[in-house]
């Protein structure tokens, strides 16, 4: 190989010979820059290959196969419920991240610092009131959408082989979403929160064998206090966001790979 830099691979020289719009030239320059260092194009090629393997020969959909063009599967609008769950989840995540800047998970004080921080968000913080409202409603709407999504999956028989896995994953997801909601419900540390927490502890303690251990782990003891609040907080803003986001991605990934169940 020659040491001289001028050869077929003089990409920047090649760029100059082309008549590019600013967007195109920025794009190409970036691409070339990255490719020379990270061999991007190899990976793009792999992706492209995979993409065409998946998409190039899309089989005819059911309605096309049976020439049902004039028939509408009247459940189709309900197929958007899973997507709506995802959207509401994203809205809740974004508004929640913003709320997290101002919330203090501290049960000490009278009323508690946690309660005070929520009060501050609602009365003093610019848009704080709207933010909390949006966060709550996004969570409520997500739960509603998830329930309805589950019903649509049931009544369209979409849980049948080979989609059992996604059904089970869905049950894990709906349970975790409820835990998500429950832990969030406790955070304002108001009367409702405290007594809902009390019931949680009692439920945990009523479980045989693992009960006390579970109460210790989840609620930080058998009576509610700072330990409980901080556990709820960590679950709500650290553990569950990662776990649930990953599971939703997996859930939707599986739908993508398997394809939506076709009605008959």
């Amino acid at each position: 190989m020659s040491l001289e830099k001028k050869d077929d691979f003089d990409h920047y020289g090649w760029l100059k010979t082309k008549d590019l719009t600013p967007i195109e030239s920025v794009f190409l320059t970036t691409l070339v820059f990255l490719d020379r260092r990270l061999r991007i194009v190899d990976y793009l090629e792999l992706l492209e290959d995979a993409y065409y393997k998946v998409n190039l020969q899309m089989p005819k959909s059911h309605t096309e196969q049976y020439d049902l063009d004039n028939k509408f599967w009247y459940w189709y609008p309900l197929y958007s419920l899973g997507f709506f769950s995802t959207l509401a989840y994203i809205v809740a995540a974004v508004s929640g991240a913003l709320l997290g800047f101002y919330y203090a998970p501290t049960a000490a004080g009278d009323p508690s610092a946690a309660y005070n921080s929520i009060e501050m968000i609602m009365t003093e913080l610019q848009f704080g009131f709207a933010l909390r409202s949006i966060h709550r409603w996004a969570a409520q709407i997500m739960m509603a959408a998830v329930f309805l999504h589950m019903l649509r999956v049931y009544f369209t028989g979409s849980y049948k082989e080979p989609r059992e896995l996604n059904w089970l994953l869905g049950i894990i997801l709906i349970s975790l979403s409820m835990v998500f909601g429950y832990t969030g419900y406790l955070l304002p540390w108001n009367q409702l929160a405290f007594w809902a927490g009390q019931i949680g502890v009692e439920m945990a303690l009523a479980t045989p064998i693992v009960g006390e251990w579970a109460a210790q782990l989840l609620f930080g003891g058998f009576t509610l206090g700072q330990a409980t609040l901080i556990r709820m907080y960590i679950l709500h803003v650290f553990v569950l966001p990662f776990v649930v986001t990953a599971l939703i991605a997996l859930h939707i990934g599986i739908v993508w790979v398997q394809g939506i169940a076709e009605p008959h």
Binding site: Q57, L87, A88, P111, A138, G157, E161, W195, A206
Partner: protein
């Protein structure tokens, strides 16, 4: 390109190592597989099998493939998705603006409020916890209970969630429309109604009905709803939609 003119001693990149195996010595996949033992060998074998199976299925299939790739992502899909998403997020913001949340009194361990409730989506679970009037007292235990009331409630939750999880293993087959399986559709409607009636049990102290009557409602309404569903779907079977469906099952896809 100056590559071809470069002589060996002018090379600056060290040249080739010269230790690449000649083509006929590179092991084929089958040979590699044979050298393997245990799990990795099984994996190779399975992959080969499943690839062959795919190919056989593809060869046999009279499935119609289309020459159109699909709708273009832009603008069709993106604009549709954006408008749906923006509408949906807009609705969330609108509702949030119209119905802001309240912030109740701060936590006070010394005063139990009259109404203790989780968010509405947990009512069903909370209702199951309140099934204790149905926890049977046993004569042999002098009316004592085998399970504590709380454990009974927790177990009720486990049973419900477990039953839902088992669903795909209980109802198999390729039927999709409710008319094709009136029984399972009625189970579904019964279950959905039960999730509402049991949620009503969670707020029993707000409902001005005697508890025994409420407990009856919890279980009778779902059964009634299920029976009605069953009857309606059975009737619909007589109609043309059902015949249409069945034929599509029987038919192979047209070429």
């Amino acid at each position: 390109m100056s590559e071809n003119e470069t002589t060996d001693d002018a090379r600056t990149d060290g040249g080739e190592t010269g230790i690449v195996a000649p083509d006929d010595e590179v092991p084929t996949w089958s040979e590699r597989k044979e050298r393997k033992a245990g799990l990795s060998r099984l994996t190779y074998e399975y992959f080969e099998r499943s690839r062959r199976e795919d190919q056989d299925l593809r060869n046999e299939s009279d499935y119609v493939e289309r020459d159109v790739l699909g709708f273009p992502t832009w603008p069709h899909e993106i604009i549709r998705n954006l408008s749906i998403s923006m509408f949906f997020v807009g609705m969330i913001v609108l509702i949030a603006a119209a119905l802001p949340p309240s912030l109740e009194a701060p936590a006070d361990p010394s005063s139990t409020p009259e109404i203790i409730l989780p968010d509405w989506y947990l009512y069903w679970s909370f209702g199951l916890l309140k099934l204790n009037p149905l926890n049977p007292g046993l004569a042999v235990l002098d009316g004592g209970k085998l399970l504590s009331d709380q454990l009974y409630g927790v177990l009720a939750n486990v049973v419900v969630v477990g039953a839902v999880a088992l669903l795909p293993y209980l109802n198999k087959g390729s039927a999709r429309r409710p008319v094709e399986q009136p029984f399972w559709a009625s189970i579904g409607v019964g279950g959905a109604v039960f999730s509402i009636t049991i949620a009503a049990l969670a707020v029993q102290n707000l409902i001005p009905l005697p508890l025994p009557l409420q407990l009856n409602i919890v279980f009778v309404f779902p059964v009634v709803a299920g029976i009605i569903t069953y009857a309606v779907l059975k009737t619909m079977r007589e109609g043309y939609m059902y015949g249409l469906n069945r034929r599509y099952y029987m038919l192979r896809p047209p070429k």
